[in-house]
């Protein structure tokens, strides 16, 4: 079923390509087709963000024994659109004596890297917008740019609360980026490639051959660092509303605030997708090696498809929301201690262990 869908998409793509090639030179056709893919992907991500905000309010509502938003549309399904329209219609207030240019550009800087990273993420077998050899490096480079939006927003607002929030967030992101980078070193050692598509295919063959099992410490470190990188609870001291109002985005309103909001949620989806691709086998099926399923009506579950990736992303997104509803906020010094004194040593030790395992040819990568 999934293979039919992919084949259909492929034939559609090829027919559009040949149609365009009759009028335009090859380079233009390639540019146009890539642009169309990018637009489709970005629109899908933004719709996902919209419903993620609803999902967050619903899930946290149910966890706290409330109903959550249920007034706009059937069961509150149109709530995100009401929120968006409200935010876009509000006035954007630029504070007095703030730095106008940096103030306006900061939200853009926090959203762009979150969207641009999707270029190298393989979505289903044979589809990735840019098949880059150094894909993992590209991911690292772009995710390290996200911090600029936060720092510049804090500084350009000309507000003490915003500056404090930006400082906290910058220190936190720099600290956790190292642990994240080391976790990715483990992944590239196991996958023997920097190309995310190759990393997915290296995890072929059922739930037990995905990298989460041999790289369990790195997997946990990566996901928790992802929580910290996106400034989500319990690491959300950058916006800790009990001390510094709303942190780096206190002064933002209307569409500019909406951009920060979009950036934060797009980052959550991105981190979930990256964790799914690198530790849970991306679009690989969980039941790939289960031979007894062959011939039964459940056989379609064994095919690798976009749905598998979507399920895994949804699982991690649920974990994000679950953490927010469950854990109290970390104290700032505890965050720093966790990042520098726990996560970085753990990753270094596990990389050494993994090196020995690769050398002795133990584990799933012993080919």
């Amino acid at each position: 079923m999934a293979e039919d869908g992919i084949a259909m998409l492929e034939s559609l793509y090829n027919s559009v390509e040949s149609l365009l090639l009759e009028f335009l030179p090859e380079l233009w056709v390639e540019l146009i087709l890539t642009a169309v893919q990018i637009v489709i992907l970005v629109v899908v991500i933004i719709i996902c963000v919209a419903f993620l905000t609803l999902l967050e309010r619903k899930i946290i509502g149910y966890m706290q024994n409330r109903i959550g938003p249920n007034r706009v549309g059937p069961r509150g399904l149109l709530q995100p659109f009401a929120d968006t329209i409200k935010l876009l219609l509000k006035e954007v207030i630029v504070p007095d004596r703030s730095n106008r240019f940096l103030f306006i550009i900061a939200p853009l800087l926090s959203l762009t890297p979150a969207l641009a990273t999707w270029a190298v993420i393989p979505l289903f077998p044979g589809f990735v917008i840019a098949d880059v050899n150094a894909g993992l490096l590209y991911v690292l480079a772009l995710t390290s740019l996200g911090v600029y939006g936060v720092i510049l927003a804090g500084w350009a607002s000309n507000s003490r609360y915003a500056l404090l929030g930006a400082m906290r967030s910058a220190a936190q992101i720099v600290a956790y980026e190292i642990a994240m980078g080391f976790a990715l070193v483990g992944v590239l050692m196991a996958g023997r490639s920097l190309n995310l598509g190759d990393i997915v295919t290296a995890q072929e063959g059922g739930v037990l051959s995905w990298f989460w099992l041999p790289l369990l410490p790195l997997f946990l470190v990566y996901f928790i660092s992802g929580l910290a990188e996106t400034n989500r609870a319990p690491f959300d001291v950058a916006e800790g509303e009990s001390e510094i109002v709303a942190g780096f985005h206190v002064e933002y309103s209307g569409a500019a605030f909406a951009m920060f909001f979009l950036g934060e949620y797009a980052n959550m989806i991105l981190i979930s997708a990256l964790t799914a691709v690198m530790f849970l086998g991306g679009w690989e099926s969980a039941f790939a090696g289960w031979t007894f399923l062959a011939g039964t009506p459940l056989e379609f579950l064994q095919a690798p498809s976009l749905a598998w990736l979507a399920v895994k992303i949804a699982f991690f997104l649920f974990c994000f929301l679950w953490c927010r509803a469950t854990f109290p906020r970390y104290r700032y010094d505890q965050i720093m201690r966790l990042g520098w004194k726990v996560f970085i040593p753990v990753t270094i030790v596990w990389i050494a262990v993994e090196g020995v395992m690769v050398w002795l040819k133990v584990g799933p990568w012993s080919v």
């Binding site: 730095n99 050899n133 150094a134 480079a141 720092i151 510049l152 400082m167 992101i173 720099v174």
Partner: protein
């Protein structure tokens, strides 16, 4: 053809950003121009098929070094006016540095045109060529000593920086983390049983 257009574009951005670094009045703007210059030069390296170096430049300089730089610049209370008055004092040094670097670039170009046997421009690599793989292969075999030495120097720098800032002074209050973690409920909470009051 297209390569040349893109080269011109990125080179222009790079030069403009570099001028912005020294010309802008606000130190934070200077830092942001420097970020732009790094990104533009990484794009130039990408055009030269040095993808590993390009990505690492963004990762290390833009993602880490400049963030800390910006951090410091933002925290400083800089009087912009006094900065402007000092500019003429440093102008001679700046001019000397500029002349020297232009002379170096010029000498390389001159050497190429003076009939010396120069290496031909390498052919474009095939699509499946991985710059990263090739670099890794020589970095850990041929150049392993230089690599280890560089790592060792960096480690030394880290230790030096930590020792410079680690001062012991009297009256410092330090938390004992192990003690905090080992705290039990009984150490902190006392449950008191009280009779229900009745009227």
């Amino acid at each position: 053809m297209y390569e040349l257009i893109f080269f011109g574009m990125y080179a222009f951005v790079l030069v403009a950003a570099a001028i912005g670094v020294i010309a802008s009045r606000n130190p934070v703007h200077s830092a942001m121009f420097l970020v732009l210059a790094f990104v533009a030069s990484s794009a130039l390296w990408l055009l030269m098929e040095a993808e590993f170096l390009a990505m690492t430049l963004v990762l290390v300089y833009v993602g880490a070094v400049m963030v800390l730089f910006l951090f410091v610049v933002m925290m400083l209370d800089i009087d912009v006016k006094s900065l402007r008055t000092g500019i003429m004092r440093y102008a001679p040094i700046g001019i000397i540095v500029a002349i020297l670097s232009v002379a170096q670039v010029w000498s390389v170009v001159w050497l190429r045109n003076s009939g010396l046997p120069v290496m031909a421009r390498p052919a474009a690599a095939p699509a499946d060529y991985s710059n990263t793989k090739e670099l890794g292969a020589v970095l850990y075999t041929e150049h392993v000593y230089a690599f280890e030495l560089a790592a060792f120097i960096l480690l030394l720098a880290i230790i030096a920086a930590i020792t410079l800032t680690m001062r012991r002074r009297a009256g410092l209050k330090v938390q004992n983390v192990a003690e905090q973690v080992a705290v039990k409920r009984e150490d902190r909470v006392r449950i008191v049983k009280m009779e229900a009051e009745s009227d």
